[in-house]
Symmetry: D2
Subunit: 369 residues, 4 copies
């Protein structure tokens, strides 16, 4: 389905960058779950544009729940979140209707919708649409947390700068790293790296340019046995969601593309008995997933975010209508990087995807008793 996804829990997404409202319907939530609205707001906060690192289009992104939420709790029927678009400057885009922005969906949208698309600010293709996703994911995340799951993402690399790594050898250190990331506005493990990355983004902004990077996400506490072969493998479902996020062009699990250089004897994770008597692996090249199913080890994956397509630098393009060449220096307000904001979206999609997969497993488990 185009704008609806999920099996036992579903998201339906709608809206455009410069339309009146954007929003999401979440269906299939358990009834009676008390949503912590402050925690939800904090997820929204992490996605917001701020300071020199982001666009000057600052949206309040006030989450407005209009259904499925009664006396502070989920009702079990569709929960609908609306967010107003308040800070639009559509005139910035009027000149752009036929001037195709490189790296954007403008041309593809013309070919698809034949001119009927809302072209202002990228319309339905805009990163604006990820705001309701963050809100929906924040609710899923709270449900997962109530069942012992934690997750966090950091910028593994940004234009050549590498962050420190997660410490998987020590659970309490890892928990500390994850906690710090979830509390930080800019998601890097190492403080010095964090400053360096931010300076790189600011410099790109000054150069009228933009940069991209790689996010790495880790999830702990998911039980083993979640995921369904063949087509609801954890990797399939998560990648499906992640690639729906604008600007994502690659997803890899565990050792990812490094597997191409390993021998099987290096790639396979040896199996042993952990300190608490459970079966664990001594390495985690498979990123917590075997055969598409969780194995109880931390789930680890990487998501590459391309540099923001909107830049101030002049670019060569074409006028769709006249077919004449144009030089585009995109006006409007842009992000010199979105990877730090995309972190909140990746976390949201991850929470949603894992909750849905867990529910799918729970549905059959109820009949194994």
């Amino acid at each position: 389905m185009k704008n609806t996804i999920g099996e036992n829990i579903q998201l339906t997404l709608f809206g455009e960058s410069h339309g009146e409202k954007i929003g999401v319907v979440i269906d299939g939530l358990p009834a009676g779950f008390e949503i912590d609205l402050e925690k939800l707001e904090w997820e929204m906060e992490k996605r917001k544009a701020k300071g020199l690192l982001s666009t000057k289009r600052h949206e309040a992104d006030q989450v407005h729940i209009v259904s499925g939420f009664f006396e502070g709790k989920t009702t079990g029927t569709p929960l609908t979140i609306l967010i107003d678009n308040t800070n639009t400057r559509s005139q910035d885009y009027a000149q752009l209707k036929y001037r195709l922005r490189p790296g954007h969906a403008d041309f593809a949208a013309f070919e698809k919708y034949h001119g009927a698309q809302d072209y202002r600010g990228g319309g339905h293709f805009s990163g604006r649409l990820t705001a309701p996703i963050v809100a929906a994911g924040a609710i899923c995340r709270q449900i997962l947390e109530a069942h012992g799951v934690s997750l966090a993402s950091h910028i593994q690399s940004l234009h050549g700068i590498e962050d420190a790594v997660f410490d998987f050898t020590n659970q309490s250190v890892l928990a500390g790293q994850m906690d710090a990331l979830n509390k930080a506005q800019f998601p890097a493990i190492d403080e010095k790296t964090s400053r360096l990355m931010q300076e790189t983004i600011e410099k790109a902004a000054m150069d009228l340019d933009s940069v991209g990077g790689v996010l790495q996400t880790v999830v702990t506490g998911m039980p083993a046995g979640i995921g369904e072969p063949f087509f609801d493998s954890v990797e399939s479902d998560l990648s499906h969601l992640l690639f729906s996020i604008p600007a994502v062009k690659g997803v890899s699990f565990g050792a990812g593309f490094e597997f191409a250089n390993l021998y099987g004897s290096q790639a396979n994770d040896p199996i042993t008995i952990g300190p608490d008597g459970t079966i664990v692996t001594t390495t985690n090249n498979n990123g917590g997933i075997n055969g598409g199913i969780t194995n109880g080890m931390p789930i680890v994956f990487q998501t590459v975010i391309k540099p923001t397509a909107s830049i101030y630098k002049p670019q060569a393009s074409v006028n769709y209508q006249t077919k004449e060449p144009v030089e585009l220096a995109i006006k409007g307000r842009h992000d010199p990087a979105i990877i730090h904001r995309a972190r909140a979206v990746v976390d949201a999609m991850t929470a949603f995807g894992l909750l849905d997969l867990w529910m799918e497993h729970a549905a059959t488990m109820a009949f194994e008793k």
Copy 2:
């Protein structure tokens, strides 16, 4: 859905490595399409184990169509393909039931199915299941070809060895490269590289080990405008299918993980008028996809295939039942690499995914007239 996927055209997959039959139901095929059974057989051939590069389990993989095919043509109702498992040696696996093979789904399957899984040869998780996928994809591919689409994959890299690149600057050279790949049993563009890669696989076999690599796929002839924001983006749907293939741990489109090192001004593909007057881009970092929708440029993506998990080398593991450590030297017949065979599976999934997306677009287009 677990073993069914697709919207307007669907695959339903079933079977186990050592069960009686494996198979697939393809529903939603256009009626009256004449299937070229020889071409279908050739796709099956590309996936087959042969010589020193693969397992000694040689299966005839005779495709048996038992429904939906009448007088040489599709009927428009479900087409069912059955393939017999003939060359099974289940006794090789009897000792393995509780001995968890590193890199395999054994442990995860135990946690999921509590011992009810058919553990022989990996059961439902086996690469055997990809045989019916190849057959189903071969039919989809023929339909796409009848509408002007071509596709081909090569091993971009194998354990450090890099193949030559596709020549996107010259359409007839590119068509020649693709044609040659589709006719080759071992999919490398450069002949010398091909030999080197094969020697590397043979050497890994002699070392009782295995190797992995990266496949790169290119698709030409897809019209612009295919793919549906948000959740049926081309990247979302293709990655979903690709990650369902056992051993796939990463998927990237166009410049993929390289985007992390580019500036926006480098990453954006400049837009211009092509020789035939159509709008094209001068580079193709976005791999033919913007905003999740095809833009008419070649679709390009990479898929990393991990080294085969089954190796003869002894590995550290655990007995699931007794929780005691075991040293595993996996018996049975294994592939020292599967990337060359996986190529046929990646091609099949690609053809299926693109046909389904094209149908989704066609459904609405019929009402725009």
Copy 3:
């Protein structure tokens, strides 16, 4: 899926009787379709409560489109309709939380949601939710009409009173009957019957009671060949939608339950050549559908609407919390009949269902060329 339905075009429904807003997301609409908002308003009008025949809860039901609609046309991305709940008197229901209303979902909802449901006015189970369905269906109907399809429903019977029948022997008379029904606020073919039915409803209201009836729907202009065996048969998909409407307890096609009394030689519709050279049947017991597929004859079906469950008469019930017997005389504002309002909902569901099925057929047809 719980509140989302459809394959190529989807509805996602949300809201509660006394919540802030109710609404619907329609995804998969063709791009560039000009919506006639006046015609849409007229469909809403037909569903509205008015006069003595209906509840005194009069809602403006102002349709507010907040996405997917740009410069008077559909964009091809999700079109979202919001409707405010303005005229709520939640205090009428406060006393009812634990007092289970007979004929309503109160008890079932308690068992399902364990008290978390929004119980006010039936919450998510309320007939209020059918307002956005009517709006969504009105758009689908306009698209069908642009492709030559007409549809209309009348009250075939109401508490023993039978309406005149559709004249299938004369196409222009039939078209006139359908047109008149679509223009009428109260949907009966015969004027005298119409008055009688309305008097019956008014009398039931005076008796603090309610009445039900049977709607009959006819659709002309659908091409033959729409519908998909087995599980997307026209009957399956339409009945699925119709039974989702609150108060619907039976659906039958063509001769319906009368088939139980016919011989095969009477039931089978003889086939002949029509005046315009096309193949037609001389009777239409099968209601335009054979094997789940349209045969080009008018589609005819019946939907039974039970008497409104909310009545002023005292009824025997139980307090869910205390498990003590209670006598309920439901306060609030109720409809002594909803069948005349339900007509608009049945028409909407029909339009949506047929458009989705037609799209499903169009998707494969595009590849038969």
Copy 4:
């Protein structure tokens, strides 16, 4: 989806009347369930053609499980059932390709598949396809029974003959009636009625004609709270499945079409405390379902089965190719009634539908703890 249905448990159906094999894939079964193959065979037996009441095409309908079943138990991965078509006489149909059989899908199929359909014996539209459905449903039924659910159907009426009624006032009498029906080859409660119905069928056969009737189904033991508003209401999901069965033209729940003649005060089921302290209703006009959700009372519904379309009596029709009138006296082997055989199919669909809905509820319930 065309030939796949279900959310947490899915059926995928394939085959044609005169093809090599028909079959079904059942995905989503709980792992480790021990299937009672004798009970499964008995369900198949109830559907078989026998004696004077049915066609002389007697098929062994040997159920052959080729996947998902290991050491007597379900594996949790797709269970595939194949059934051979052995007793085909395709020559009976060769003359019929263009001679459209009244009451059949022949014409509709031509319009849909443009001659590519397998026309022999109705092809994919044949009642043969219900054999694998019965097998799949039998497994679901066993799972439901293991969780306390019972179900049974009887012929409520056949060409004017009415059977005795279920005794809902006495649970042990009701259980006895249900048990007797499930053990009987011909499903009538009253023995005398049973004979009369069978004589009526035999007489229709002698008259070269056929008869239809109404099945009534009752389900006990389903917990309250199953079913999902709006679009997965119990009525929506069951009717969807029932209308997929060839020859079904009407479905009603509880009082069904009788609701049209009742006042609300008669239709509403008064609520009281049952002998065991649970909340029950004193009547059951709503057939155990309110707001689309089970209320714990017996689920009761009616399904009308039209007279078999294939009859020996000459009928007026048309040659599709030449457009000339033809008189058809259908050769081949036909059923003078199928209602007694259809009983097994209705039971199967019911079991599947309810298990799927229960799983859907269980998926969210797992997260309410």
